[in-house]
């Protein structure tokens, strides 16, 4: 791996995002178009300026349509252009931007549109029905597991190994649902939520309770990536993608270290090396780690090497990860506050880091001056992580 020989630097010059909610009326194509158009408008570009399109979307089974890439093609602006779909489950939210990045970094394309879409409301009776088919058909499925149960086991392993208190984990849900207040796309914002509300919410699969989880949603998000060769035609203050990394652990989820995400630490080290970051805790100003469950924010901060194992819970309790704290985490409101249309969470990970660094985050803007941020997403059968470091130079 030679992370130094990248040909072109790549910047984000626009981002767009739809409301996250159950959206039975619009098609996935229509939502894709809405988000893509917003990103192009912010970049001051039109579709004819775009050289290539990358689409991210999670399982075909959500829509009940195979080859979802070509299905969403026209709404994503891919007609008659070099086009590809990438899919790494929830990790698609950050991995699709990485695929867009290599289109530009390779020197092949100057302006690339990345669109991520998810419509989880089509599948009946519930999105869990689609998830039933991600398991090993012979070893796992006859036992009828569901995703929440598996996450519950991982959360429990994390709490057990690092002696983490449930109350500290639940504080993440409180923080993110409050941070989402004022986000124009938020589905789950709650200005008055308290720790007791989370602790007393219904048990789903203990230790997981209803408010520890971000439920299914529909939506789309998009970004525009451009090469260093043309970036100043579009903006005076580009937000650069400085490092990217990704990694997968074994297919057999039972065989992984469920307490510490080693695959994420590898992805993070790859991104940090490319970005020239030696001490991530000193050099990174804020983070948007993937938070479909509250414990995942903590585990991901630790996997990103921004906290020691178990320490992220203490940082949360001490208020350090609040938007105005010393190390803001999920200032967007995250998946817990804004919503969880799987791949479309691009808008609250890569999108939020871009808006924060470009000082366009409005009421969500963190107070301290931020120059370097990290976005991360997690997915496949909970074994994949993608990491992107972004910076205002």
């Amino acid at each position: 791996m030679d992370l130094k020989k990248i040909r072109k630097d790549v910047a984000v010059v626009g981002a767009g995002m739809t409301v996250f909610a159950r959206r039975l009326q619009e098609t996935g194509k229509e939502m894709s178009w809405e988000a893509a158009k917003m990103a192009l408008d912010e970049a001051g570009l039109t579709l004819k300026d775009i050289d290539a399109v990358v689409l991210g979307s999670a399982p075909d089974a959500f829509d009940g349509v195979h080859k979802k890439g070509e299905w969403l093609l026209d709404g994503a602006g891919g007609t008659n252009k070099p086009f590809m779909r990438v899919y790494t489950g929830g990790g698609t939210a950050v991995f699709a931007p990485i695929a867009g990045w290599w289109h530009v970094a390779s020197g092949m394309f100057k302006r690339v549109l990345v669109v991520c879409e998810e419509k989880m409301s089509s599948v009946q009776p519930h999105a869990q029905s689609a998830f039933a088919h991600i398991w090993d058909p012979i070893l796992d499925r006859p036992l009828r597991p569901n995703l929440v149960w598996i996450f519950a086991m991982e959360m429990q392993r994390y709490m057990h190994k690092y002696n983490v208190r449930y109350e500290d984990i639940a504080l993440v849900a409180v923080k993110n649902k409050r941070n989402a207040v004022g986000h124009p796309c938020a589905q789950l914002a709650d200005p008055t939520i308290t720790l007791d509300d989370v602790i007393n919410s219904e048990p789903m699969a203990l230790p997981v309770r209803r408010l520890d989880i971000s439920p299914p949603s529909d939506g789309a998000s998009a970004i525009v990536l451009v090469s260093e060769d043309v970036v100043y035609e579009h903006t005076d203050s580009p937000v650069w993608i400085e490092g990217v990394g990704w990694c997968l652990d074994t297919t057999m989820w039972t065989n992984r270290d469920l307490a510490f995400p080693k695959f994420l630490a590898r992805a993070a080290k790859m991104a940090y090396e490319m970005a020239g970051i030696k001490n991530p805790r000193k050099e990174i100003d804020f983070a948007e780690p993937y938070d479909p469950f509250d414990y995942k924010e903590l585990q991901h901060l630790e996997g990103l090497l921004l906290a020691d194992p178990g320490e992220a819970a203490i940082m949360t309790r001490e208020g350090k990860t609040q938007r105005d704290g010393e190390f803001p985490v999920c200032p967007s409101g995250g998946l817990l506050g804004v919503g969880n249309p799987i791949a479309a969470t691009l808008g609250i990970k890569i999108g939020e880091v871009y808006w924060q660094l470009a000082r366009k985050a409005g009421p969500r803007q963190v107070k301290k001056d931020v120059r370097t941020g990290v976005a991360q997403a997690w997915g496949d059968l909970m074994q994949f992580s993608a990491v992107v470091v972004m910076r205002r130079r």
Partner: protein, 156 residues
């Protein structure tokens, strides 16, 4: 365009299905050995990689870390301990489970990969990481060579 509509019945929509209605899944070479031994001998088999000092339960024909071919199968016995567990109150369709179902990862010893299964004959409050358990199998005449030939694991 961004109105929130909560009720499916308020919007015209079309129902449809994906038409392939079933699949044949293969248990594989190592899987075949595992399920035959479970059905006929009541054994839980693993496969050992000497180079990595790791035993895969259920067995496989290769080690994913060093790519060695694995030919050494061994009976892991029926006793193990709980590595992680959860108490499930809802099924995947959101219906309440009464009583709750208990799932666990069971380890058959150091340097082995854990097996997913259910716990039974146990008070939920008494389950902890490290709890020692044993497999309860269906009677031999009822076994079909499936993972559900193991009914559950219970404390020992």
């Amino acid at each position: 365009m961004i109105e929130r509509i909560e009720k499916a019945t308020e919007i015209r929509h079309w129902l449809g299905d994906m038409e392939a209605d079933h699949y044949y899944y293969s248990s594989g070479i190592a899987g075949e050995k595992f399920f035959v031994a479970l059905r006929d001998e009541g054994q839980i088999l693993g496969a050992h990689c000497a180079a990595c000092n790791l035993t895969y339960v259920p067995p496989r024909i290769y080690c994913e870390h060093c790519f060695a071919e694995l030919t050494e199968y061994k009976d892991m016995g029926k006793r193990g301990c709980v590595v992680a567990f959860t108490i499930a109150h809802y099924d995947k369709a959101g219906h309440r489970l009464e009583p709750p179902e208990i799932f666990a990862l069971i380890s058959f010893g150091p340097c082995t990969t854990p097996l997913l299964h259910r716990l039974g004959e146990v008070e939920p409050e008494k389950i902890c990481v490290g709890l020692e358990v044993e497999a309860v199998l269906k009677p031999k005449k009822d076994r079909e060579g499936k993972i559900t030939d193991i009914l559950y694991f219970r404390p020992r």
